[in-house]
């Protein structure tokens, strides 16, 4: 993990530094100090107040103020309350929660216990993806160790406060990252969202008041309690205090997790920390927020990153996936990629999402196959906005964002596909083909030997030919030819 220019590690402070399977390592870096401080020096109201004043906002994507959630859950009267941790990190291209769970599992447990004390809950549940076996194993070890040392379980540190944590495994449904779907899943049902309000803090798991935060949000809590809200506010911006972890991936030289203060310009992340674009290609866009977000073009690279600025650019913070795209990426293709994802992951409960996203996908399919029509761009925008306004949960309300943001910044690319049946990035396979230039082909046979469908024929030292009928347009021949004898067009 790079610790280059401008990075500040709060959520990731212990990742890669301590042995995640040793509670002693965690304690040696002031672990569980905050829990002790909360239990013995602070009232539950003071804990809630500190989190509120810190300005910490949900790191799972929407940016809802964490302190308000805690306060609502605290005020809800009930014999049983729950503390839930959303570790169902489903955004393709995002892996910061996985790193926290694998690298510093105790910081999540400590924060959940602090939350339990603050809202008056004694049961915690971590909903974790079954696709993350190492994270599951480390959490199990951490829970066991903390319970053995009296830092979880009954009568923690002799304070009279009891708190238990158990794990619950997801089963591969993206929509379960939505908090009400997640609760339905924990109850053993299909992960379909509920109508809000009532909000989980009032009526959540098993209809009891429930506080639910994401892994990265919890990873900030113990340090806010230990160091105070003023300390936390020295990082980041007025409206978005603290740091954010991004999973930087795609066409940059340095891929991996970066943690930067909110307000850091996108350019710093991509150029200084990410080391710029691979293979000297040209930057085209940064995709943030995964299937719920959008693409930010080069002209906005100097925008400081915070919740509001990303929304005004038509994207969103999301959980922190940041995929860098270069000149070879087709923006219509990227929209189609995300829509394919959301259409498949739609739970089917509400009509705008279940049917609307499929209709959007059909239009995109047509455009990328060279069958686009003049009205398609208007249809995409109108239908997209309708889905945003009418879908039941966050998944549907944000699913058209990839289309709407690319229509906004890359409408020329849509027009090229629709009016000229061309893919400028050379990525939509139906709109491209490969040809061998007879005057450049040396008959070296490299292309024929590498073709996965054996559709290139020709004798040694003679000009080769591609059988266009059988060609799957994978581009292997194009990349293998040493004589630039194969062209794409």
């Amino acid at each position: 993990m790079s610790s280059g220019t401008g990075q500040v590690r709060i959520a990731l402070r212990n990742c890669g530094v301590i042995d995640p399977e040793s509670i002693k390592d965690y304690i040696a870096t002031d672990g569980y100090d905050a829990l002790a401080k909360a239990l013995f020096d602070m009232s539950p109201d003071e804990v809630v107040e500190t989190v509120k004043k810190s300005g910490l906002r949900g790191r799972g994507g929407a940016g809802f103020p964490t302190g308000i959630k805690w306060e609502t859950a605290r005020r809800s009267e009930s014999d049983i309350k729950y503390v839930l941790c959303n570790a169902d990190e489903g955004d393709p291209g995002a892996f910061m929660d996985r790193s926290v769970l694998e690298g510093d599992p105790h910081c999540v447990l400590e924060a959940m216990a602090i939350c339990g004390y603050a809202i008056g809950a004694s049961q915690g549940i971590i909903y974790v993806r079954a696709e993350y076996p190492l994270a599951v194993k480390r959490l199990q070890i951490a829970i066991e160790q903390a319970t053995d040392m009296g830092l979880l379980g009954d009568n923690i540190l002799g304070s009279g406060f009891s708190f238990n944590v158990r794990l619950y495994f997801g089963a591969g449904a993206f929509v379960c990252g939505e908090e009400t779907s997640l609760m339905n899943s924990v109850q053993g049902g299909r992960g379909e969202p509920r109508l809000k309000p009532p909000f989980p803090a009032v009526k959540g798991l098993w209809d009891k008041p429930t506080n639910i935060n994401n892994v990265e949000t919890y990873a900030n809590v113990a340090q806010i309690i230990r160091n105070g809200w003023e300390w936390f506010r020295q990082f980041g911006t007025e409206k978005s205090p603290g740091t954010k972890v991004f999973a930087l991936a795609g066409k940059v030289n340095n891929v991996g997790l970066v943690e930067v203060p909110m307000g850091t310009p996108l350019r710093v992340i991509i150029e200084d920390i990410g080391g710029g674009i691979r293979n000297n290609k040209k930057f085209k866009a940064a995709q943030t927020g995964g299937p719920s977000g959008g693409c930010i073009p080069a002209e906005h690279l100097d925008t400081p990153i915070e919740y509001e600025s990303l929304i005004s650019l038509g994207s969103m913070m999301g959980s922190g996936g940041m995929i860098v795209l270069d000149e070879d990426d087709c923006m219509v293709g990227i929209s189609k990629f995300y829509l394919t994802f959301t259409a498949e992951e739609s739970c089917g409960k509400c009509t705008p999402c279940r049917i609307g996203n499929v209709r959007l996908l059909e239009i995109l399919d047509r455009i990328t196959e060279g069958k686009g029509e003049e009205k398609d761009m208007d249809d995409l925008e109108n239908l997209g906005n309708t889905i945003k306004d009418t879908a039941l949960c966050g998944l549907g309300q944000s699913s058209p964002n990839p289309i709407i943001s690319t229509l906004r910044y890359f409408s020329d690319e849509y027009k090229e596909h629709i009016y000229h049946k061309r893919c400028p990035a050379g990525s939509c396979s139906k709109l491209i083909g490969y040809k061998i230039l007879p005057d450049k082909c040396t008959g070296c046979t490299v292309c024929a030997r590498n073709c996965p469908v054996s559709c290139i024929s020709g004798e040694r030292k003679k000009v080769h030919v591609i059988d266009q009928e059988r060609c799957i347009k994978c581009g292997v021949c194009f990349s293998k030819c040493r004589f630039k004898a194969i062209v794409r067009g």
Partner: protein, 167 residues
């Protein structure tokens, strides 16, 4: 199409023991299905019905949940599960071409199983190994920075293993 009537004819002691070990019987359905799939590799109808009877819930609810989550399989899968990651990072680094190369190599489409029962080809969502993109997983083994050229070698590796096993 007429549906066969499913009845529970066998006993499932592993599921009984697992159920007894659960501290909280509320919300036991998904953990039970995870356990059943771990034991039997997939969720045959009889097992689904058994889980329904055990938990005292309608079989339709079990079926509804089993079909909702992509990790649950209703059909038997190949001995080796080849999963191509179609997460965003892998996608922009060319995993679609790798999936196509595998389809050609195995002569099946994605989600299908080869006639000899050796391979099932699927795409999966992000496995969180974006730094190694594009990623192919065979069982639990991760192959990183795969190119379409590597596909034949990966398949051969498992054909070789299957061969040894049969000898």
């Amino acid at each position: 199409m007429a549906q066969e009537i499913v009845e529970v004819t066998e006993s499932y002691p592993a599921l009984d023991a697992f159920y007894d070990s659960l501290p909280d019987k509320n919300g036991a359905l998904i953990p039970m299905l995870h356990k059943a799939q771990e034991e039997y590799g997939y969720l045959p109808q009889e097992v689904q019905l058994y889980v329904a009877l055990k938990l005292g819930i309608p079989a339709s609810k079990v079926y509804g949940v089993a079909t909702f989550y992509s990790l649950f399989n209703l059909e038997r899968k190949g001995q080796y599960r080849i999963n191509v990651c179609l997460g965003t990072a892998c996608y922009v680094r060319g995993s679609e071409a790798i999936l196509e190369a595998l389809e050609n190599e195995l002569k099946i489409k994605r989600t299908e199983t080869t006639g000899d029962g050796l391979f099932t080809l699927s795409s999966i969502r992000c496995v969180g190994a974006c730094g190694l993109a594009p990623v192919v997983m065979v069982g639990d083994k991760v192959y990183g920075r795969v190119t379409p050229d590597d596909v034949r070698g990966i398949v051969d590796e498992y054909l070789g293993k299957a061969g040894e096993h049969n000898d």
